[in-house]
């Protein structure tokens, strides 16, 4: 499999002088295309920082990050925005859907920044909603949907642009057991059927079970990095 991500000696320091806090203290990691990776760790371990760096939302203090052959640390803010726009999809713990906005329009949001016509946007968004199993909820606003449904709309929004990589930040943190399973099965399907690389942060073992590879972060360093052999089916 071809290499997607290469991290070498990645560090991240917040603040300066005495107040400086090192969230990451030198991370080396390689991720191939098509992987399903779970990043685990207690709170304050640096796993969120790692995800923000991987998702090109933030820049490392030192070290190098190559994404699909591109040296991310050489990109400016706008170039990182364009990288996110064209190559990455995001799912958040709090869903982060626009309130008072229909599911369809929420899914269309990333397409607006890619210059599709209204007709193309509707069509692509409908397809994405259907692929997450919500073909009949197009007109509903987030407040009219259950948590699981909202997260599925968010997943539709993340995959509507056909990104190669999906970042999921505690995707099931706000969901109950049943919907957690639904959402995780959906992510597995996206990974297996469409070959989307999935990078997920979680602190629940139950959720990490679905990943093919589990990375444990502690005190800004990778403590363990193992293949998961006990995936449910």
């Amino acid at each position: 499999m071809s290499r997607l991500i290469e991290l070498r000696g990645l560090t991240k320091t917040y603040g300066r002088g005495d107040a400086a806090f090192q969230a990451l203290s030198g991370v080396d990691m390689d991720i191939d295309k098509g992987e399903f990776l779970a990043v685990m760790g207690p709170s304050g371990s640096g796993k969120s920082t790692l995800m923000n760096l991987l998702g090109c939302l933030d820049t490392a203090t030192t070290g190098s990050y190559r994404f699909d052959g591109v040296a991310v640390e050489t990109l400016n803010k706008d170039q990182r925005s364009l990288l996110r726009r064209h190559a990455l999809g995001f799912i958040f713990q709090g869903f982060n859907l626009l309130a008072r906005t229909s599911a369809l329009e929420n899914v269309e949001l990333p397409l607006l920044y890619r210059g599709y016509t209204g007709k193309q946007r509707h069509e692509m968004a409908r397809k994405a909603l259907a692929s997450v199993g919500l073909p009949d909820k197009e007109r509903n606003t987030p407040s009219e949907l259950s948590g699981g449904q909202q997260q599925r709309v968010a997943i539709a929004r993340a995959i509507v642009t056909n990104p190669g990589t999906l970042f999921a930040d505690e995707p099931t943190g706000n969901l109950d057991t049943k919907t957690t399973r639904e959402v995780m099965e959906l992510l597995c399907r996206l990974n297996e059927d469409f070959g989307i690389t999935i990078l997920m942060v979680t602190h629940e073992d139950e959720v990490a079970r679905y990943a093919k590879r589990v990375v444990l972060v502690r005190d800004g360093l990778i403590e363990s990095d193992v293949a998961n052999t006990q995936r449910p089916h």
Binding site: G55, S81, L82, R85, N96, L98, P110, L112, Y113
Partner: protein, 401 residues
Amino acid sequence: MFWNAFIIALLEIRRNLTRAFLTVIGVVIGVAAVVTLVTLGRGATETVKSQIEKVGSNLLTLRPGQGWGPQSAPLFSTDDVEVIRKQIPGIRAVAPMANTNVQAIAGEEARQSDIQGTTPEYFPIANWELSDGRFFTDAEVVDGATVAVIGETIRKELFPKGDAIGGKIRLLSTAVTVIGVTTAKGQAGWGDDLDDNIIIPITTLQRRLNGQLSKQNLAQIMISTEDGYPSEAVVADLNSLMRERRNLSRSEQNNFSAFDSRQIADAVSSSTKVMTSLLAAVAGVSLLVGGIGIMNIMLVSVTERTREIGIRMAIGARAREVMLQFLVEAVTLSCVGGLCGIALAYGLCVWLAKLVGAPFLFDPKINGIAFLFSAAIGILFGFMPARRAASLDPIEALRHE
């Protein structure tokens, strides 16, 4: 990118119409106030101008003494009229005016009325037209004929049942026959009823009503100048001629004055214009306050929508796209506000113009200016919130509760 920002902004406005309404209401009111006041002011100016034209344009009035009001200075004579006619260039017509105020009686009706004695030249000078009958002639002036041309108000008062032509009006001991009724002019700018008058040959007034044959009893002389001939030159000529005829020495002031109707019109319309600009300036302040209202709500909305901005940035919106979205939102709102204001002003103007009896004159210039100004306000006051939105850090913004 611009078109995209426009679509995103429109979607965002549609999503929260209440907020949009509250944002633009200030601009709507500001634009409506400015446009309404300027439009009505222009209407008022035009009204004053047209009313002065009703009295007669190209009109000079020679009156005894200085200024308006009752005077103790010597009156004019019919000789003055003839000399003016012969010696002053640029004059189209000259008419002597003598007047008195007596009880006019017709049948059972009576009314205290202004009686004006003049010559037929007066009618074109003062822009009189007939709704019925005819004016009197030069021959009737020579004869001192007992005929009268009456105004519409007099016709209504003295001949309420209709046909006035041929009717008799008794003025003191003289009965005059109505030969003409003038077309109504309505009120003058200063409130006088222009149709409340009885016009008779000057000789009839001198011989029968004033009871004296003296020719030295003209209260004023009315002169109309030729089109395009500078009225200032005629006024100057009139002044020197009359000073000479009255043997005024260099140290003496004029004991007569020549009023130029155009000067009066200009003075009145310029004062109305000053008034209009003053009111428009006050209304302009309210437009500015409306703009600050837009900035206020946009700033609040940037805070309120921090998470939305974070989402947009996470899915790949560049800072300048976020900025453009907010800027376009502000400009779109203020432009829509401007258009609503113009529409509101249109309604207000039509209604108020009817209410105050001024004509409604649509002025594309002020509407254009008001619209551009509201757009400028959108840019000006939308800029700061937009920049604040664009400067947000996506991670912080996403974490915002």
